[in-house]
Amino acid sequence: MAAKQLVHIKVNGREREAMVEPRMLLVHLIRSFPGLTGTHIGCDTSHCGACTVVLNGKTVKSCTMFAVQADGGELLTVEGLMKDGALHPLQEGFKQEHGLQCGYCTPGMLMSSYALLEKNPSPSEEEIRWGISGNLCRCTGYQNIVKAVQFAAAKLAEGEKHELSHVS
């Protein structure tokens, strides 16, 4: 059994450190931090994407990485989308367009959508569906999730900037 090692990760703009076994999955480390249970574990097979976070500017499935691999990195989780009590346009979109039912896939959907809009601020429907193709939803049939992302894209295009504490 390997000794624990210290990892430093900046999570939603805040420096954190933890002693972890090498085999600790990144998702388990994230969820061990108080208040950061928004990142969900939905499967055992790396399919569902409910664990999606943004690490060093790229979406990853945090269940398919070890915490030690994120050492020194910058992480954005769903909790990092809100700023000073204001919802991110994506969160507003999911609310307005009923983009969730049980809410289990939602954090992953939000993070994948966030990354999509960062790269492609006005995606077509096909591009949105492609952008969330690593996230499974059992409730909604995806249509309202697409609408939620379109809502957010429109809001962001109107010039509504939403500055996050995480900067990458």
Partner: protein, 289 residues
């Protein structure tokens, strides 16, 4: 869900990595993208006692043309290929292939080298690399070597790589003018492994006849399969609809599919024929036919 315990090693150079792998023996595995290895470890199908994480080694992430080859570094991610203007412009068969591997999150981590080194015939790049006649460049305990793609895949999950040997680069002979290629994959849902897939890369001469052909088949055998008879048939002929149909028929006869949840053998064979027809047709279009 939770992997067995292991010791985590973080080499700074290839040489250090090779040393670590040798010293710990067969119980040590390379951690690169990890998108095949980590799921296996979570099921405890793989229980390496040591993981040698090569992600921190610099200088292995590149896509460039150099010395008559397209060179892809050993740590280049699928997402890098997908985003590369060079790949889209001159090697669209690689863009076709990358974009149907898994999903966006997995493509951010997964490496092209890992997709080959894992030795899974269900992976997509092997067939494409067969079609492109790629070479695998490695560093290992005996020094460096270049493995031609036709020698690389041995059987299920088994490649020519020795323990301690690391893929540092995949190189593809630069394509001559009049070249075109395509990769067509049928999957049950986005992100799935192929029910079957075909990679086709053609070069046409000035008369529009086929000067060179590379055809690779995905997930219809214990290794990716080169449809050599289909390739030989096409050489010297104009790839019109009839010749493409015959080449597709030959490619299907060279597949060795097994019946499983993705479909029965005859279905997969028929699928190879249709996908080969589409891939060859698109390859011709891209070759400027």
């Amino acid at each position: 869900m939770i992997p067995a315990a292991f010791e985590y090693l973080r080499p700074k150079t290839i040489t250090e990595a090779i040393g670590m792998l040798l010293q710990r023996g067969e119980d040590a595995k390379i951690l690169s993208g990890g998108q095949s290895l980590i799921p296996m470890m979570k099921f405890r199908l793989a229980r390496p006692a040591y993981l040698v994480d090569i992600n921190w080694i610099s200088g292995l992430s590149y896509i460039r043309e150099d010395g008559g080859y397209l060179k892809i570094g050993g740590l280049t991610r699928e997402a890098d290929l997908e985003a590369s203007p060079l790949i889209h412009a001159k090697y669209p068969i690689l863009a076709d292939t990358s974009r149907v591997i898994a999903d966006p999150q997995i493509r951010n981590m997964a490496t092209v080298a890992g997709n080959l080194a894992h030795g899974d015939p269900a992976n997509d790049h092997p067939a494409t690399m067969l079609a492109l006649r790629a070479e695998i460049v490695t560093e290992g305990p005996q020094g460096g070597r270049v493995i031609p793609i036709d020698d690389f895949f041995i059987t299920l999950f088994t490649t020519r790589l020795e323990h301690g040997e690391i893929v540092t680069e995949i190189r593809i002979p630069e394509l001559p003018p009049g070249s075109g290629g395509a990769y067509f994959k049928l999957e049950r849902k986005v992100g799935d492994f192929a029910t079957a897939a075909v990679a086709a890369q053609l070069t046409l001469d000035d008369a529009g006849a086929c000067a060179g052909a590379g055809i690779g088949l995905t997930n219809v055998g214990a290794t990716p399969i080169r449809a050599a008879r289909a390739e030989a048939f096409l050489r010297g002929k104009i790839p019109d609809a009839n010749n493409i149909a015959e080449a597709a028929r030959l490619a299907a006869s060279e597949a060795q599919p097994g019946s499983d949840l993705r479909g029965p053998e005859e279905y997969k064979r028929g699928l190879v024929k249709e996908l080969a027809r589409r891939a060859l047709t698109r390859a011709c279009e891209r070759a400027g036919m």
